[in-house]
Structures are given as structure tokens and as C-alpha cells.
């Protein structure tokens, strides 16, 4: 079985700023970490590997320092890594990113399960996994809170407010995972020592045969104009007092009066 896990290196802080010239995230001086939900995707893959002996390729599109995150993924137990890196790939929105990742998958050729984290914490869109699934015409399960491989199917659970949905899909398929799915392992010191010797391949858009009009800024129909923290305005504050039951009743009464419930 062959699993591809897609990870993104994101800044290790919320204090990021936008480069006013390019309109993109200014990542200079910030330490990059693996997007937390992608750590869950890696752990899901590694657990399947422990059960089935699957091979795992970890893939990431990003600048050269993305290699640090890929080495960590190798240290966790992935078998090989691919970095999609070229100046032309920069500035991509989710459509252009999805196209590039799908191109990498086509070049890899042989795969059964594609895993993503539910969304990247720097952009919050959650779109890349579904876009890749559509480009590759693969079935997709999003927001999985459990995953199991059975023969040539994947079975996942998805949490809703009042129920849990269980979905079974024939492989090959795309699955995006939530944090609830597992507790990611730390890369062990032995894993770190071995990671340096595992293959890490670099592909440009030319290696993947990408249409240059569909990658990077060229291929991005959406532009991030501005990212800002919304202003918090102080409105009327009502303090409730009394026992917990009394406070709860007062809150419910107030919300009903305001027709909010």
C-alpha cells in the first residue's frame, strides 16, 4: 500500500505580517513548524504503516526551508520526502496549490491513500485536499475523526452535532483529518538520526510538467488583500450574580427577550 501525506510548513506564531509589496505572508525571521493538523495526518499514516507495512511519501510545496519540516516527517517514520519548490510556485492560492499538488501526485503515479490535515492554521481555508481530490477525480472524505483501512477501502468517521457519520470509500481516495483522530508522536532521536539518510527529492514545476499559467500567482484567481484582527468594540456589559442555576436562568431569559433563542 502507498500513502501520500501532504504537509505545509506554517509560522510558529500568530504574529505574522503581510508583505505590503506582494500581499503574501512575510515569513522572514519566523520559525516554521509542521501545520498541526498535518501532524495528525502523518500520525494516521504512520499507524496504518505499522498495521499494514504501507510505504509513506510525504509531500510539501513551499520555499527551501520547508525541507526542515520534511526532515521531521521523515524522522517520525515516513520513508521518503518530496519538496515542490520553485520561485514560480510562490504566491499560490488554494486553486494553484491544489493543481501543483495534483501534478505531483500524477508524477508519483502509484498511490492508494492521500492524507491531508483538515486545514492549515495560517490560512484556514481547508480547500487543498478537496481540490486535489477533484483534479484527480478521486473520492474524498473530509474532517475524519477516525480512519481504518480494510482490504481496498478506507473507513472513516465524521463528527456532526447530533450524530457520527461512518463513511466507507474505495481506494484510491483523499482523506482530510481532524485533531481528534490521534495524538501525533514526537520524532524520536533514532528517527532523527535516520531521517538525514532518507531520500528527499526536489521537484520544480518543470519536473512535474505543470502549465505555468496554472501555478503560483499566475494560477491564482484569488488575492489576499488584507489580513487583520477585527476591532473588538466594548458594548453593554451585564453582570449576573447569584447561584449557578439562577445565573443560567437569567441568561436564558435575556437571550429569549432579545429573540436570540
Amino acid at each position: 500500500m502507498k500513502i501520500l501525506v501532504f504537509i505545509k510548513q506554517v509560522p510558529d506564531t500568530i504574529n505574522v505580517r503581510i508583505d505590503p509589496k506582494t500581499g503574501n505572508l512575510d515569513r522572514t525571521g519566523l520559525k516554521g513548524v509542521i501545520n498541526p493538523f498535518d501532524n495528525n495526518a502523518l500520525e494516521a499514516a504512520l499507524k496504518i504503516k505499522e498495521e499494514t507495512g504501507a510505504a509513506i511519501t510525504v509531500v510539501s510545496m513551499g520555499p527551501p526551508q520547508t525541507e526542515e519540516s520534511l526532515r521531521i516527517a521523515l524522522a517520525m517514520g515516513c520513508d521518503e520526502a518530496v519538496i515542490l519548490c520553485a520561485k514560480e510556485l510562490g504566491g499560490a492560492d488554494t486553486l494553484a496549490t491544489g493543481y501543483t499538488l495534483a501534478s505531483a501526485v500524477k508524477k508519483i503515479g502509484d498511490y492508494d491513500l492521500l492524507l491531508f490535515g483538515r486545514h492549515a492554521v495560517d490560512a484556514d481555508t481547508g480547500q487543498c485536499g478537496p481540490i486535489v481530490a477533484e483534479f484527480l477525480n478521486l473520492p474524498q472524505i473530509t474532517f475524519a475523526t477516525s480512519i481504518k483501512v480494510e482490504e481496498n477501502h478506507v473507513i472513516c468517521e465524521r463528527d456532526f452535532d447530533d450524530y457520527i457519520q461512518k463513511v466507507k470509500v474505495k481506494l484510491p481516495a483523499v482523506v482530510t483529518v481532524c485533531a481528534e483522530i490521534n495524538e501525533p508522536r514526537y520524532p524520536s532521536p533514532l528517527g532523527i538520526m535516520k531521517a538525514m539518510k532518507k531520500p528527499l527529492i526536489t521537484w520544480t514545476h518543470e519536473d512535474m510538467g505543470c502549465d505555468t499559467e496554472r501555478i503560483g500567482k499566475n494560477g491564482s484567481p484569488s488575492i489576499v488583500r488584507e489580513i487583520f484582527e477585527p476591532e473588538h468594540t466594548q458594548k453593554d456589559t451585564i453582570m449576573f450574580s447569584g447561584e449557578t442555576d439562577e445565573i443560567a436562568k437569567s441568561i436564558v431569559d435575556l437571550l429569549e427577550q432579545q429573540h436570540l433563542i
Binding site: 526532515r71 521531521i72 524522522a75 508522536r185 514526537y186 520524532p187 524520536s188 532521536p189 533514532l190 528517527g191 532523527i192 538520526m193 531521517a195 538525514m196
Partner: protein, 377 residues
């Protein structure tokens, strides 16, 4: 730094730093109040941290002495108890690593790497600094050694799976008549005694041990007969690097807490960090922590290069441990009344620090060693 860490060492450092922040530091107060944390021990095992320097063929990560120092240093920044636990485990396992037969290594080192806990038993109630004065004795009976006596102040005793016990095999030879033995937990005659109610490092388990006619096969002896004292002293050289690393990490932890406080607390119209009297304290603390860190990693490098490092390890422990106690006490002073409260952590760190001047070679013994060595040159 005097040299660069390798890429692997940087990754290991970052991993341990992340692990410490998320898993270790939040538990340190609990350990101070409740003792050894078996759950944390399991996490250390799962993270592969129990056998970092052991050879890969025995389940370790093949890290060198610098890598080991990095792990201890980073753990100490969150919990000195946890760092000391790993230090004591490695001190004992190293005796088998450097002096064991292949059969002993093949049996015990994978256990150490997987996380079975090891403890080093030299000190007795009436023999600490005067290690040659130990009274535990092993007497030959055919193919078997019969061990009697006891130990005191043994870090990891009470939770250990394997003990390295030093005992007299030829008492008339003094320190030249001591041998090292492997004694597994559960061996008939091995009794775990009183658990010590310590001032600090309360996340480690420290008990008395007693040996009542413990019968050990000849294969339980580590190294040559009567070479135990030399074996122990060599092992302590390595452990003193760990103490330097603990001192540097613990002092930095205390200084970080004090720094946040100093930048927030205001007196006479400004943060106390802007008062020279407080600034000077931080200048001294920072310089001493830097010195300890550099000394420690330098000794680690010497060990990694296979160089003799007894003198330098002693210096790093002596300087670092005394620096650490002073730094932690100074941090209490910076926090004032809050420093005197258990709620603000620094008092716990100061209680932890004091042990570093005592265990694995008191400052007085180290001064004898260093002074005598320097004066003989």
C-alpha cells in the same frame, strides 16, 4: 558556542525542547507534590529519550556525549527532577555500556533503551564522599557471590528495574577491593527501604536499599573483579557533565520566570527591570549561565572525542551547581514575596538546585580533586 551542533543535534534539541514545554514542564509542580510520575516516564520511553546515547544495535539512537548533554539540558529547562532521573538512569546503564561483557550488553542495554529504569548504587548511610568506606560486601561461595549490606540516597531506587551495586570483594584493599554487580529488581534478598522525604528533586524516587544474602551468579559482575571503584569514578565523570547541563537548564528556567516578573512588576513608577539593582542581578545570572553552558558542552565535546575529561567535568559540576543555587535564590529575591510562595515556582527550583552541589560528588570533594590536579601540574 565553541562549536556548532550538527543538523541532527539541532533537530533533537528542538524535539526535546518541544516535548519539555508540552509534556514535562506542566508536570513539574505535580511531581514536587506527588513524587515520581510513571505517566511521564512512559512518555519519555515513547519519545525514545531513555537511550539516546546507547548504540543503535541495542535499541539506542547512537547519540554522542554532546547529544546526551543537549537532551539533559533541554529537559532541565522544564523539570530538574526529570533531567536528574534520566541522568541517574544513564549513569548506571553506562557502567554496562563501557565495562560489560557482550552478553551483559545484549541483555541489559536494550532494556535501558526501551525505558526499564536503572539505578547506580554506591553511597551508603556512612559512606558518601568517602566512597572507599562502603561496607556492603560480596563474598564468593563456589560460583556465586553472596551480597550483604545496604545503600542510601540512591536516585531511582524504588522504581528501578536494574541496580548497579558497588560492594567490597576484598575489603583489606580499600578502594582497590570494590567490584560492581548487576542486581535486578525482584531478586531474593533485595529490599527497598525508606523513601526519602527530600527538600527538592521530589520528582525522583530516592530510597534506602538493603541486601540480605543476595545470591548473584558470577555473570552478574560487571568489569574485572576489584575494578569497581575505577568503573564508578569513570561513570561519575560522565554524570558530572549531566549535572552541569541540569544546572544550566534549571538556572535558565528560574531566570526566565524572574525576567517575566521583572518586566511586569512596577515600583516607583517603572518596571523593576528598569532599576539598576535588578538589572545587575540579571547581568550576573546571564553571564554565569552562559559560562556553565559553555563549560558543560566543552566537556561533552571532550568526552565525544574520547579525551580524558575528569578535571573539566569536575569543574563544570562545581561551578554550575553553585551558580545554579545562587541564581535560583537570586530569582526568589527578584520576585520578592511572590518568590517565597509555592505558587510562583522559583522556590521549587531553588530547592531542586541544592541537590546539584551534593549528589554525584559534593563541591568539597570536587575542590579536592580539582585543587590536587592543578597543583600537581
Amino acid at each position: 558556542m565553541l562549536f556548532d551542533f550538527t543538523q541532527e543535534q539541532l533537530m533533537i534539541r528542538d524535539m526535546v525542547r518541544d516535548f519539555t514545554a508540552k509534556e514535562v514542564e506542566p508536570r513539574d509542580k505535580w511531581m514536587d507534590e506527588n513524587g515520581f510520575d510513571h505517566e511521564l516516564h512512559k512518555k519519555l520511553c515513547d519519545a525514545g529519550l531513555m537511550g539516546v546515547h546507547l548504540p543503535e544495535q541495542y535499541g539506542g539512537a547512537d547519540g554522542d556525549a554532546i547529544t546526551s548533554a543537549i537532551v539533559i539540558h533541554e529537559l532541565a529547562k522544564g523539570s530538574a527532577s526529570t533531567a536528574l532521573f534520566v541522568d541517574a538512569h544513564w549513569l548506571a546503564a553506562d557502567i554496562i555500556l563501557y565495562h560489560g561483557t557482550e552478553k551483559q550488553k545484549s541483555k541489559y542495554l536494550p532494556m535501558a533503551a526501551a525505558g526499564k529504569i536503572f539505578a547506580f548504587g554506591l553511597t551508603e548511610s556512612s559512606a558518601g564522599s568517602d566512597a572507599a568506606g562502603i561496607k556492603s560486601q560480596a563474598v564468593k561461595d563456589g560460583d556465586t557471590w553472596v551480597l550483604n549490606g545496604g545503600k542510601a540516597w540512591i536516585t531511582n531506587s524504588g522504581v528501578a528495574d536494574v541496580y548497579i551495586i558497588l560492594a567490597k570483594t576484598q575489603p583489606e584493599l580499600g578502594n582497590k577491593g570494590i567490584s560492581a554487580f548487576i542486581v535486578e529488581e525482584g531478586t531474593e534478598g533485595l529490599k527497598i527501604g525508606k523513601k526519602e522525604d527530600k527538600m527538592g528533586m521530589r520528582g525522583t524516587c530516592t530510597t534506602e536499599l538493603s541486601f540480605d544474602n543476595i545470591r548473584l551468579p558470577a555473570s552478574a559482575m560487571v568489569g574485572a573483579e576489584n575494578s569497581g571503584f575505577k568503573i564508578a569514578m569513570m561513570a561519575l565523570d560522565g554524570a558530572r557533565i549531566s549535572v552541569g547541563a541540569i544546572a544550566a537548564g534549571l538556572a535558565e528556567h528560574a531566570m526566565t520566570i524572574a525576567k517575566h516578573y521583572a518586566n511586569e512588576r512596577t515600583t516607583f513608577g517603572k518596571p523593576i527591570a528598569k532599576h539598576q539593582g535588578i538589572m545587575f542581578k540579571f547581568a550576573d545570572m546571564a553571564a554565569h549561565i552562559e559560562a556553565t553552558t559553555l563549560m558543560t558542552y566543552n566537556v561533552a565535546r571532550m568526552k565525544a572525542e574520547g579525551k580524558r575529561h575528569t578535571l573539566e567535568a569536575a569543574m563544570a559540576k562545581l561551578f554550575g551547581s553553585e551558580m545554579c543555587t545562587k541564581t535560583c535564590m537570586e530569582c526568589i529575591q527578584v520576585l520578592g514575596g511572590y518568590g517565597y510562595s509555592k505558587e510562583y515556582h522559583v522556590e521549587r527550583l531553588a530547592r531542586d538546585a541544592k541537590l546539584l552541589e551534593i549528589g554525584e560528588g559534593t563541591s568539597e570533594i570536587l575542590r579536592m580533586l580539582i585543587g590536587a590536579t592543578i597543583l600537581a601540574k
